[in-house]
Amino acid sequence: MSITTLNRQDKATRDLVTTGLRNFAPLALLVVMLLVVFVGQPSFFGGSGISILAGQAVPVLLLALGQTMVMIVGGIDLGSASLAVFSAIIVASTLQDLGYFAPLLVLLLGAVAGGVIGFLASHFQVPSFAITLGALGVWQALALLFSDATTVYVDQNSEAITWLVDWEVVGLPLSFVVACGVAVALWLVLKYTAIGRSVRATGFNEKATLLAGVSTVATKVFVFAVSGACAAFAGIALTAQQGTATASGLGIGLLLPGIAAAVAGGVAITGGIGNPINVIVGALIITLIPIGSSALDIDPKLQQIVYGAIVILAVAATMDRSPGRVIK
């Protein structure tokens, strides 16, 4: 056996170990954070703390899952959080007339809206950063327009969506379990389907993928449609949680947590790499920061510092920093 092959095997084993560690780093961080909260405030676990954490994590998780798909293809979706707000308003205002069809309609709308953005971005070769920055404004304006800039209350047929938060599975809200199901589904898509392989290939090397005859336009339409549908789902979950929807409501602030959750879950912003199941952990980490800080009585003024420090820690633990890699 020659020198090179042996060296290569050594390196392969070493890489396997570090990759393995990197995969579990977000989980380890979450466990450490939970332990800190447990030591400081044991009652957090006795009461409904975990259930609240899971429930609060749902919108962030859904947005992060959509973001994950877009990031794996090498792009970013800045419009998803405001699409979630728009979706929340649409579902709140159509429940009365459409009942159970309202959430389905909104999911479809979200997917179509995302798909259109993906088509525009890839067909006209506009960077996704630019086009989704534009989309962010459009969804926000549409949300204002449809809500007449006031709060939309859910009166009738609220049971068409509230089952998401009312029903529980092993003490966790159903919406969280469904969102985890979405994560597993996306993981399966990435691992076992042709389109999933195209997504990863495009993220690693778009030019080579194009020259191998893979339709990168279809691939991008797909990931942005997934992101749109996830955003719509996040909007539905928000409305179900609150019973109301406003254009200036909770969703707007979810853009950066959504991205942070994906990054904390080990998704590379340079494309190609990311595991939706780890993003569940990322979303829990991001959601636990404010909840845990409150439970520990940390000064709210300091919470942003804790937030920043933990995001940096999570990224540092999960990123592949082989020498010579270009980090953007």
Partner: protein, 511 residues
């Protein structure tokens, strides 16, 4: 060896291990002043370890490194420069959106010129910067304008700037420099190679040169003496005038060259598969007509700017064309799109393997199945187990090493990567046309032979092959016919079965 001081560089029993493996095993090499020493070896033979040792990146575990009679132990890359060693790396390190002068200034770290180029506030002194750059360039006999943006330079000129940069740093030490050129000609066209060979002769006047290359003929032409590395050992030291290419190949690979006569010429050809009429793209190629038959390898040769690269990409639909028509197996194609080309069983191997040919990060088996689905996997669901099993057979057939379908393609050596990229197309059952843009570029001789073999097998199976050859020898060794292009038009056509043209004849059509 009576007088040690007469050598610029001497390695005595140098050993370097990584873990339990010896990358260099008791290596003895010496370089005299004003001598060009060739260093050859297959990938993994220890060449790069040796160069890194000389550049101060690695340190030897045992043995001595003697520079101009003094024992040295290098600890950091700057130590190499301080001892008068300049390295021109295989991959260009210039920053393309800066001027030549700025690049040379960036490379002058540690020399007095670094300080003179910028004032105390950190602002450029442009006049001084340009003057320094001009001096450095004139030193190596180049007349490039220092104010040019590197992006606008030809590849050869960039190489010159790299050399000027290395000389500038190495000469700062005050001694005659030792320059290491790591595969400087790997991607040059034939006449550019000549320029570089002249440059090496010039550098020989300034100091000593270690010339690392895969191209045996070139090493023979430029070097005074040649060392052959295999598995970390020096397996041969020859004077260039006493050795022939065949012997070097044997030393290097440990086996005899399989390449005998051009087997392609004797092959019986089938029907016309690719036929091109009057294809034109303004500014790139015009009125190009030719046809290739099943089983034929048609080699295209031409200098940079001959238009053959753009022609190849246009036929695959990766770049546009303005007028003309072509047909694949009798079916006309007015305009071409990549996906339509692939559906009509046309394949294209890009010359830039790393950026266009392979998807680093995906496994070997995923790369192999990117263009054509494996049997029974045409649907949206992909079963890795099935894919792996199917790809194992292919990997064994193409002799890809290591034979692991799940390994990231980026881990393979260049030659094995190229086998996978080719395999991606050749595993299609009824491949009709393969457009191969410099398939052998940058590969070591052993890998070159295996890849050439794969191409020959595909042709024998009835594929029409358009081969954009790296060298004229490659065209003559692998083609049934040769088409010479210059400035976007075809200037000569040769059918090798009828007559084999002389090299000079081909060059005449190119320039």
């Amino acid at each position: 060896m009576t007088v040690i001081t007469e050598n610029t560089l001497e390695l005595v029993d140098v050993t370097k291990t990584f873990g339990s493996m010896k990358a260099l095993d008791s290596v003895n090499i010496r370089v005299a002043p004003h001598e060009v020493v060739g260093l050859i070896g297959e990938n993994g033979a220890g060449k790069s370890t040796l160069l890194k040792l000389l550049a101060g990146v690695h340190q030897q575990n045992s043995g001595e490194l003697i520079i101009r009679g003094q024992k040295q132990r290098m600890k950091a890359p700057s130590d190499g420069a301080n001892l008068g060693i300049g390295v021109v790396h295989q991959e260009q390190s210039l920053i393309v959106n800066l001027t030549v002068a700025e690049n040379l200034h960036l490379g002058s770290a540690g020399t007095p010129g670094e300080k003179r180029g910028v004032n105390r506030l950190g602002l450029y002194n442009w006049a001084e910067l340009n003057r320094q750059a001009e001096t450095a360039l004139r030193r190596i006999g180049s007349s490039i304008d220092p104010t040019t943006i590197v992006e606008d330079l030809s590849f050869t000129d960039r190489q010159m700037v790299e050399i000027a940069k290395a000389v500038q740093v190495a000469e700062h030490s005050g001694a005659e420099p030792l320059l290491i050129l790591d595969e400087p000609t790997a991607i040059l066209e034939p006449q550019e190679t000549e320029i570089l060979e002249r440059e090496v002769a010039r550098l020989k006047q300034l100091g000593s040169v270690i010339f690392v290359s895969h191209r045996l003929q070139e090493v023979l032409r430029v070097s005074d003496r040649i060392y052959v590395l295999r598995h970390g050992r020096v397996v041969g030291e020859r004077n260039s005038k006493d050795v022939v290419e065949e012997e070097l190949f044997q030393l290097m690979t440990g086996r005899e060259s399989r390449q005998t006569a051009n087997e392609a010429v004797g092959r019986t050809l089938g029907r016309q598969v690719l036929s091109v009429q009057g294809l034109t793209r303004r500014g790139h190629f015009r009125d190009v007509s030719f046809s290739i038959r099943a089983g034929e390898v048609c080699a295209f040769v031409g200098a940079n700017g001959s238009g053959r690269d753009e022609l190849a990409r246009a036929l695959f639909g990766a770049e546009p064309f303005d007028s003309g028509t072509f047909s694949v197996d009798g079916r006309p194609a007015r305009s071409m799109r990549i996906r339509r080309a692939i559906r009509s069983a046309v394949a294209y191997l890009p010359s830039e393997r790393k950026t266009e040919g392979m998807v680093a990060g995906l496994s070997v088996s995923e790369n192999l199945t990117l263009a054509h689905p494996v049997d029974g996997q045409n649907g949206p669901i992909q079963l890795p187990g099935k894919r792996r099993a199917a790809m194992r057979r292919w990997i064994a057939k193409m002799d890809v090493r290591p034979a692991d379908p799940d390994i990231d393609i980026a881990r393979l050596s260049g030659g094995n990567q190229q086998k996978v990229v080719l395999g991606k197309w050749f595993l299609a059952k009824k491949l009709k046309v393969a457009i191969l843009d410099h398939p052998l570029r940058g590969l070591d001789p052993g890998a070159k032979e295996s890849v050439a073999q794969l191409i020959a097998e595909a042709a024998a199976a009835g594929c029409a092959i358009m081969l954009l050859a790296d060298t004229l020898e490659e065209a003559l060794g692998n083609g049934n016919s040769i088409i010479v292009m210059k400035d976007g038009t075809i200037t000569e056509r040769h059918n090798l079965a009828e007559r084999i043209p002389a090299l000079a004849e081909l060059v005449e059509g190119m320039v």
